[in-house]
Symmetry: none
Subunit: 125 residues, 4 copies
């Protein structure tokens, strides 16, 4: 399971897990009915508390992305990919919207936002 945890990030660990598994389901790294790693093995793998992994799996199940079968494991549900994609997109759009609103309150202009975006994207190259 290719999950990367940044424990010094402001984002809760369980949320980082949720988001990355969501991504894997979306881009078909995880397919319908695939089994997720067990809570214990993943927690061992990532060197974090099993409770944290459990919370992440709970979130996924609550959103209908996975199904847990007692004594068997946690499986990727039959998902409406289109809908999921749309919701993720909206989440990110909302975050951008908030950031831009704040910038506008600070008097920033359109071009400055584009500069900031490019700066951050380049950081990753």
């Amino acid at each position: 399971m290719n999950i990367i945890i940044n424990s010094s990030s402001m984002i809760p660990i369980y949320e980082q897990i949720v988001d990355q598994i969501k991504g894997m389901i979306l881009n078909s790294t995880l397919k319908e009915n695939d089994i997720l790693p067990s809570v214990r093995s993943l927690s061992k793998d990532l060197k974090i508390s099993a409770l944290t992994v459990k919370k992440a799996y709970d979130c996924l199940e609550q959103e209908g992305l996975t199904v847990t079968i007692h004594g068997k494991g946690t499986f990727v549900a039959v998902a409406n990919r289109e809908l999921m994609r749309e919701e993720q997109r909206k989440e990110v759009e909302a975050d951008f919207e908030l950031a831009i609103q704040k910038g506008r309150r600070f008097g920033m202009q359109e071009q400055e936002f584009r500069e900031i975006l490019e700066l951050i994207l380049e950081d990753r190259l």
Copy 2:
């Protein structure tokens, strides 16, 4: 004092106050040397604890946006606009960074972020 508190928001009340007062200082609703409402009067006004207002005022002072004179009140500081500008920029950059991190966890590519930015900017035209 035109401050709106959303107590059901995940954003701490004191931070909501800080942000809104920052905004007022920036758009000159509050000018240099203007006096802020007293801790007690604002807490009464907003129907929140005086300590919560105090914490917000402490944040503002810590950032150098206000000056407190004991027994007198809290006043808008003579601002170092260069420095303020720089800090605002950093704030917005941090928000962008977070939004982009989330998008990446969802598997979004660079071009998609640019599309989202343009969409939001155009919405406002």
Copy 3:
């Protein structure tokens, strides 16, 4: 009355007044039985609240440096100058002692304290 108030200082205004009048009594700018300015006139002079001047005069009287005669005014008491001088000296020594203790906890050496002292003294030239 040659008193200088620094309202942005961390030292309370009333204490600044007390200290400066103490100094004047010591160096004989104010002599025994001299009358101090009235609370009202001094407060007007310094553009501060009369209550603040009153508090300063109360302190002086409590320390036995002045005597107030109702309806007449406040007068410099017959003081033991030697003792006063000694007490002031001890106050300042104690403040230095504290500052140096802190510096030593920080690992500063003797020469560094001398440098700091000279720097501050020069600032005033």
Copy 4:
């Protein structure tokens, strides 16, 4: 945790805590990545409010001396010794400044400050 609180002192309790923990970090009683006592345990230990300990820890974090990880605890930060040194120097300078201001209000001359400094330094030899 060997912290001594003087509740009758004029120095706020939270500041007493900050100073003593600073001292421990400086003289390496507390080393990098050491964990501080939890807010609750220390408050219980010192028989003071948890909020007061919290405020002290906030100060330390704000100065970059500690790092707090939510749900984990508060840890001694990897220190930027250059920066720390500079801040310590400023602290001591400010204390000297105050002592000298007081002396000047008492009418002391430059040479007297030098004498006091030398007296205190010699006391320690």
